[in-house]
């Protein structure tokens, strides 16, 4: 019965969501900050609105990823090895945060499980819709892909710096070990 209710619930929910609300939320996401109003409206048309109950899994680790999500209301936890003894919480996301954006670019599997910790409202933006948009509006596609490239470059730089710090720390501790009798 619950599943049938969910079906009807999905059919008739969110009729009163303010469109301005979505645009404002999208504008806060680094991927879309450079877009103007008209372009944001194009993205808004692609967005899927989903409602999750507390404890409901949004996507599972190792499953194929289709796209990214933005938290509108509620809280989302990102877990490694979810529902196993070695479960580890990697991050806790709040309204305005986004996750799963790598699935917009690659056909790879999810690296972690996302779980709604509370009753949560999300916006989903998916790879097929986005690439369909790139086909129709190549200029917007170039803009989005270059922003995504910048974000990834920044992350890579940050990872390199972290690795350098880690390597220095290791070298330091190795020196200490050899110096100590």
């Amino acid at each position: 019965m619950g599943s049938v209710n969910a079906l009807w619930g999905n059919l008739f929910r969110h009729k009163n969501v303010d469109r301005g609300d979505i645009t404002v939320l999208l504008k806060k996401i680094p991927l879309f900050t450079e877009l103007h109003k008209g372009e944001l409206r194009e993205i808004e048309r692609l967005v899927h609105r989903r409602v999750y109950k507390g404890g409901e899994v949004i996507f599972w680790e190792d499953e194929p990823g289709v796209g990214m999500y933005v938290v509108q209301h509620g809280e989302v936890g990102i877990f490694k090895d979810y529902a196993k003894a070695a479960q580890k919480e990697l991050a806790r996301l709040e309204p305005g945060d986004f996750f799963g954006e790598m699935a917009l670019l690659e056909d790879d599997c999810r690296s972690a499980t996302a779980v709604a910790l509370d009753d949560t409202h999300l916006f989903g933006l998916f790879h097929p819709d986005l690439f369909n948009l790139f086909d129709r509006k190549p200029q917007l596609g170039v803009k989005l892909l270059s922003t995504l490239g910048n974000i990834l470059a920044r992350r890579l730089r940050k990872t390199n710096q972290d690795l350098l710090v880690l390597a220095k720390g290791r070298a330091g501790s190795a020196k200490k070990k050899t110096a100590s009798p």
Binding site: L7, L11, R50, E56, E63, V66, G67, R136
Partner: protein
């Protein structure tokens, strides 16, 4: 007492949620079948709907091309529809004298000749020109079979011929439906995905996208190949001065949508009519040669370049499906059985892929 190892390894866990999913999918399929069944009784809506879906799949790339040039979706759809209407009008205006002349002559022939008289003529010609065929009994048997086949084909074709009122309604409905499918198709798909429960939603998005891509390229490819074959057939038959070359060539292009049998079905009327009109069996040879050449061009140039790697169906399955489709739904079944098999094949392929990759389909955890 513990069960033996082999028995333990085949224990099947019934998953309540998956059972519900199957139940809902089954209910949905039943509702869909019921809707199709009801609609099939009022073919007045179903046929225009199918044609509108095919037309919208064919025209979508043009609309996307205009959108790429900065036009909004609605204006692009209107422009494409107007240009298409103008082109069709111009083509009809240009070709209508030829089509009318051929229809008139063909209807005259149909009134004067029944399949029985037609086959008697062919039999006489065969006996006259191929005297080494010493077994007239065999020819009679073949001709009897051919007569029955011709009658059944004629009956089915007459059933397919639409009356004036449905044609008028279809002429209004098809552009109307095509317009809204092109304009709001994406929104309709989004609303469908929106209605799905969370656990199947990502999988359904991926599945629908893949079906959309494969089916779109298949239908566009098939129509384009048929247009090429139709144009080649009309040209070849016109050069050979085969009577009713336009109608027969166009029919050959349409029949090309039926794999393996289509080209043969397209060639037979041209061969028969050329033999009868020229009054000698040898007249069949240039027509056969022309159709063989067209087949060669199709196999080496047209199909590999247009269809490419789109939807491959095993030849054995194609033959089974064609016979079943033809037996169950007649000519319409022959034309539609391969695209429908394509939809089922892609859906099963993607569902199996989903079973391997998505937990929602594997278990309830």
């Amino acid at each position: 007492m513990k069960p033996p190892a082999e028995a333990r390894s085949v224990v099947i866990h019934f998953d309540r949620d998956f059972f519900f999913f199957l139940f809902k999918a089954g209910t949905f399929m039943l509702a869909l079948l019921a809707a199709v069944w009801i609609l099939s009784y009022s073919g007045i809506v179903l046929t225009p709907l199918i044609l509108a879906v095919v037309l919208s799949i064919l025209l979508n790339p043009l609309v996307v091309m205009l959108e790429r040039r900065g036009m909004n979706r609605t204006s692009a759809v209107v422009l494409v529809m107007v240009v298409l209407a103008l082109l069709l009008g111009a083509a009809l205006n240009f070709l209508s004298p030829v089509i009318a002349r051929e229809f008139k002559a063909l209807s005259g022939l149909v009134q004067n000749e029944t399949p029985a008289t037609l086959l008697t003529k062919i039999k006489a010609l065969l006996m006259q020109h191929l005297p080494w065929l010493k077994n007239p009994g065999l020819i009679t048997q073949v001709m009897d079979r051919a007569e029955k086949l011709l009658y059944s084909l004629l009956n089915q074709s007459i059933q397919l011929l639409p009356s004036v009122i449905p044609v008028a309604i279809a002429l209004v409905l098809i552009p109307f439906m095509t317009f809204f499918l092109l304009k709001d198709g994406r929104r309709l798909k989004k609303s469908f995905i929106q209605a799905l429960p969370n656990r199947y939603f990502e999988m359904a998005t991926s599945l629908l996208h893949k079906i959309d891509c494969q089916l779109g390229s298949y239908i566009r490819g098939q129509v384009l190949v048929s247009l090429c074959i139709g144009a080649l057939s009309v040209t070849a038959l016109a050069i050979l001065r085969v009577p009713y070359f336009f109608l027969i060539g166009a029919a050959a292009g349409l029949a090309n949508m039926i794999p393996y049998f289509g080209p043969i079905v397209g060639a037979i009327p041209a061969i028969i009519l050329n033999v009868i009109s020229k009054g000698r069996v040898g007249a069949a040879l240039p027509v056969i040669a022309a159709f063989l050449l067209i087949r060669l061009i199709d196999d080496t140039l047209v199909s590999p370049n247009i269809l490419g790697r789109s939807l491959k169906i095993h030849p054995l399955l194609v033959i089974i499906v064609i016979f079943t489709g033809g037996e169950m739904f007649g000519l319409m079944g022959l034309l539609l059985c391969i695209p429908v098999t394509g939809i089922i094949k892609v859906t099963i392929q993607e569902l199996l892929w989903g079973f391997r990759h998505y937990r929602a389909l594997r278990s309830s955890d």
